[in-house]
C-alpha cells in the first residue's frame, strides 16, 4: 500500500488496552474520501479518535504523508490534520467568527493574535461555507445545522491536508445535508483527503472513493463503493434479517 497519502498498518484500537477493532488496513490518496460504515457501537468513532491521536492506539501504525503519526509534534500535526467530532463545542460567549478563527490556532503567534493574513483566511472560509450572514451572532444561539457549518468552517480554516469527520451529517435536515455535501466536494477539489463516519448509506455510496466496513472484532471489508455495496453484504453487515428485508421491499424503502 505505498503511494498513499494516508494509510494504516495493522492498526488496533480500543479503550483501556481492550481492543475494539483489530488489524485495520486502509489507505487513501490525496483528495479522496473514505467513509466508515457499520452498525452502532462497531467502533467507528474509536477508529477516528485513534487516527486523530485523541485516543492512544493499542498497536499498529498510522502513516500520514509517509511519516508515522506519533512522530509528529502536536503543532505540526495540527497543520496537516483537522477533526470535527460530535462531542460538542461550547461557544462560551464566542461569536461565530471567533469560533471559526479558533481554527487558525496552529498558525498564530504566542498569544494567538490573528494576523491580517489569518483574518483574510477566516473571511474567505466563511464565504466559502456560506456563513457570512450570521458571523456576528452568538455561537450558542444559532441552530444545529448552522453550528455544523460553522464548525466545518473552523476546520477548513486550519488549512489541513486531511480532515476527519465523525457523523457530520447526523441531525442535519435535507437542505443542510446537501449544502454540507457541496462543501465536501469543494474540499475534494482543493485536494483535501477526508475520512468520515456516516450512518446514511446512500450518501456514503455516492460520494466516497473508499468504504471501510466495521463489524465485530476485525474490520470487515475495505474497498470501493462498488465492491462493498451489495444488498446481501450490507444486510449481513447491519444484521438486517429476512423479515426486515422483506418489509423494506414491500414498502419500497431503499436500504442504500
Amino acid at each position: 500500500m505505498s503511494g498513499y497519502y494516508f494509510k494504516t498498518e495493522k492498526l488496533t484500537v480500543g479503550y483501556d488496552n481492550k481492543p475494539i477493532v483489530k488489524d485495520i488496513e486502509i489507505g487513501i490518496g490525496k483528495g479522496e474520501i473514505l467513509s466508515i460504515i457499520g452498525p452502532n457501537g462497531a467502533g467507528k468513532s474509536t477508529v477516528l479518535k485513534s487516527i486523530a491521536r485523541q485516543l492512544e492506539k493499542i498497536s499498529g501504525a498510522v502513516y500520514l504523508d509517509k511519516k508515522e503519526i506519533s512522530d509528529y509534534s502536536g503543532s505540526d500535526l495540527s497543520k496537516k490534520m483537522a477533526v470535527l467530532f460530535t462531542d460538542g463545542i461550547k461557544g462560551d460567549m464566542m461569536s461565530v467568527e471567533e469560533v471559526v478563527s479558533a481554527g487558525r490556532y496552529p498558525y498564530t503567534g504566542h498569544f494567538g493574535v490573528l494576523s491580517e493574513h489569518d483574518k483574510e483566511v477566516v473571511f474567505e472560509t466563511m464565504k466559502t461555507v456560506g456563513i457570512l450572514d450570521y458571523k456576528d451572532k452568538d455561537f450558542d444561539k444559532i441552530s444545529d445545522g448552522q453550528k455544523q457549518r460553522v464548525l466545518l468552517a473552523k476546520v477548513l480554516c486550519q488549512e489541513p491536508e486531511i480532515i476527519l469527520l465523525d457523523e457530520p451529517t447526523s441531525f442535519l435536515d435535507i437542505r443542510y445535508k446537501l449544502e454540507f455535501l457541496s462543501v465536501i466536494e469543494k474540499m475534494r477539489e482543493k485536494n483535501i483527503s477526508i475520512i468520515m463516519s456516516v450512518h446514511e448509506l446512500d450518501l456514503a455510496k455516492n460520494i466516497s472513493d473508499k468504504i471501510l466496513c466495521l463489524k465485530g472484532e476485525y474490520s470487515d471489508k475495505f474497498g470501493t463503493p462498488e465492491e462493498v455495496f451489495e444488498r446481501e453484504y450490507i444486510c449481513e453487515l447491519f444484521g438486517i434479517d429476512e423479515k426486515n428485508n422483506q418489509f423494506a421491499k414491500d414498502k419500497g424503502i431503499e436500504i442504500f
Binding site: 486523530a52 491521536r53 485523541q54 509534534s73 502536536g74 503543532s75 505540526d76 500535526l77 495540527s78 490534520m81 483537522a82 477533526v83 467530532f85 462531542d87 460538542g88 463545542i89 461550547k90 462560551d92 460567549m93 464566542m94 461569536s95 467568527e97 471567533e98 469560533v99 479558533a102 490556532y105 496552529p106 498564530t108 504566542h110 498569544f111 494567538g112 493574535v113 458571523k135 456576528d136 450558542d140
Partner: protein
C-alpha cells in the same frame, strides 16, 4: 470588520474604567480612616516627605502596604477563580467553593500552632508554603472526585464538604492550642487585610507577579481549552500539562491569599463573572488581566467598607465580600437556568 472594532473599543473603555476605579479607590483607601489624610498630604508624603511624623507613619506603615496588599491579593483571588472556572468549565467554581481555601487554612493553622508551641517564629514564607500544600491537598481531593463525578452540582457539594472537613480539623487544632495562639489564629482565620506590612507586600508581590506572568503565557492554550478537550487536542495542545499548570497556578494564587489575609469568600466567583459581563467575552487574553483588575477593584471597595462602616471597629473582609458576592452567585445560577 465593524464588529471587531466595536469589541476593541469596548475593551479599551472597560480597561480604562477599571484602572480609573482602582486609582480612585486606592487613594480613598489611603485617605479615609480614623485619621483622615487629604490628597495633598498623600502627595506631599509620597513625593516630598514633608508631613508630620504621625501622618507619615500611618501612611507608610499602615495604609499604603495594606492597600497594596488588597490590590495584589484581590487580583490574585479573582485570577485563581477564573482559572478554576476554566478548568472545571463551571461558572461557580472558585477557591472558596471547592474547599481549596479551607484546605490552605487548615495547613496554616496546623503550622502556626505546631511551630508557635515550640516557640519558632513563623515567617510569611513558611505560611505561604503551608497554605500552598494545603490548597494542593484539597485540590487533589476535588480532582479525585471529578474523576468519578461528572455533575457540576455534585462537584460543588463535594467541595463544600471538603471545606467543612478542613474547617473541622482546624477547629480541633484550635481547641488544643494555647490561648495566645488562639487569638492569633482567630484573628487571622476571620479574613482580614489588617496587619499587612512591607515584608508581606514584597513576598506577595513576587509570588503573584510570577503566577500572573505564567498564567498570561498560558492564555493561548487556555483559549483552545475553552472550546473543549477534543478541539484543544486537535490543535496540538498538551492537555495534561495544561491541566497541571492550571492546578498549580490557581493553588499558588489562593495559597498567597489564605496565608496573608485568611480565606476570603466570593471574590473568586463574583469578580470574573462581572468582568465577563463587562468585557462581553471569556477570552483568556482579555479575561486574565481583566479578572485581576476586577478582583483588585472589588477588594479595594470591600476593604474600604470593612474598615470604615463600623469605625473604629473593623469588619472582617469576608463579611463584606459575601454581602456583595453572594447575590451575584445567585444571579449566575438564575442566568444559567434561563440559558438552558
Amino acid at each position: 470588520m465593524l464588529m471587531r472594532k466595536k469589541k476593541v473599543i469596548r475593551c479599551i473603555i472597560a480597561f480604562t474604567v477599571l484602572v480609573t476605579g482602582i486609582l480612585v479607590f486606592f487613594l480613598l483607601n489611603i485617605g479615609i480612616g480614623s485619621v483622615k489624610i487629604s490628597l495633598s498630604e498623600i502627595i506631599g508624603s509620597i513625593f516630598l516627605k514633608g508631613n508630620d511624623q504621625v501622618t507619615d507613619t500611618i501612611l507608610w506603615d499602615i495604609r499604603l502596604p495594606r492597600s497594596i496588599c488588597v490590590f495584589i491579593l484581590g487580583g490574585a483571588l479573582a485570577l485563581s477563580g477564573y482559572l478554576l472556572q476554566t478548568f472545571f468549565r463551571n461558572p461557580i467554581a472558585g477557591p472558596f467553593v471547592l474547599g481549596i481555601s479551607s484546605g490552605a487554612k487548615m495547613c496554616v493553622a496546623l503550622v502556626m500552632v505546631f511551630l508557635m508551641s515550640r516557640s519558632f517564629k513563623t515567617n510569611s514564607f513558611t505560611l505561604v508554603i503551608a497554605a500552598f500544600v494545603g490548597s494542593l491537598i484539597s485540590m487533589g481531593l476535588v480532582l479525585l472526585m471529578t474523576g468519578k463525578i461528572k455533575s457540576m452540582a455534585m462537584l460543588v457539594v463535594c467541595g463544600v464538604m471538603i471545606g467543612y472537613i478542613c474547617s473541622a480539623i482546624t477547629e480541633l487544632v484550635v481547641t488544643f492550642a494555647s490561648d495566645a495562639d488562639i487569638v492569633n489564629l482567630h484573628n487571622w482565620s476571620r479574613g482580614s487585610f489588617s496587619g499587612s506590612d512591607w515584608n508581606g507586600v514584597r513576598i506577595v508581590f513576587v509570588f503573584v507577579l510570577i503566577s500572573f506572568i505564567l498564567t498570561f503565557l498560558l492564555s493561548k492554550p487556555l483559549d483552545a481549552f475553552l472550546l473543549g478537550d477534543s478541539h484543544a487536542r486537535s490543535m496540538g495542545v498538551n492537555i495534561r500539562a495544561l491541566r497541571v499548570g492550571i492546578v498549580l497556578l490557581s493553588s499558588i494564587l489562593s495559597a498567597c491569599i489564605v496565608a496573608f489575609a485568611g480565606p476570603i469568600s466570593f471574590v473568586g466567583i463574583a469578580a470574573p463573572h462581572l468582568m465577563r459581563k463587562l468585557f462581553n467575552t471569556n477570552k483568556p487574553i482579555i479575561m486574565i488581566p481583566g479578572s485581576f483588575l476586577g478582583g483588585s477593584l472589588f477588594c479595594l471597595v470591600c476593604d474600604l467598607i470593612a474598615r470604615n462602616i463600623l469605625a473604629p471597629s473593623e469588619l472582617n473582609i469576608s463579611t463584606v465580600t459575601a454581602i456583595f458576592g453572594a447575590p451575584i452567585v445567585i444571579y449566575i445560577l438564575f442566568d444559567k437556568k434561563k440559558h438552558n
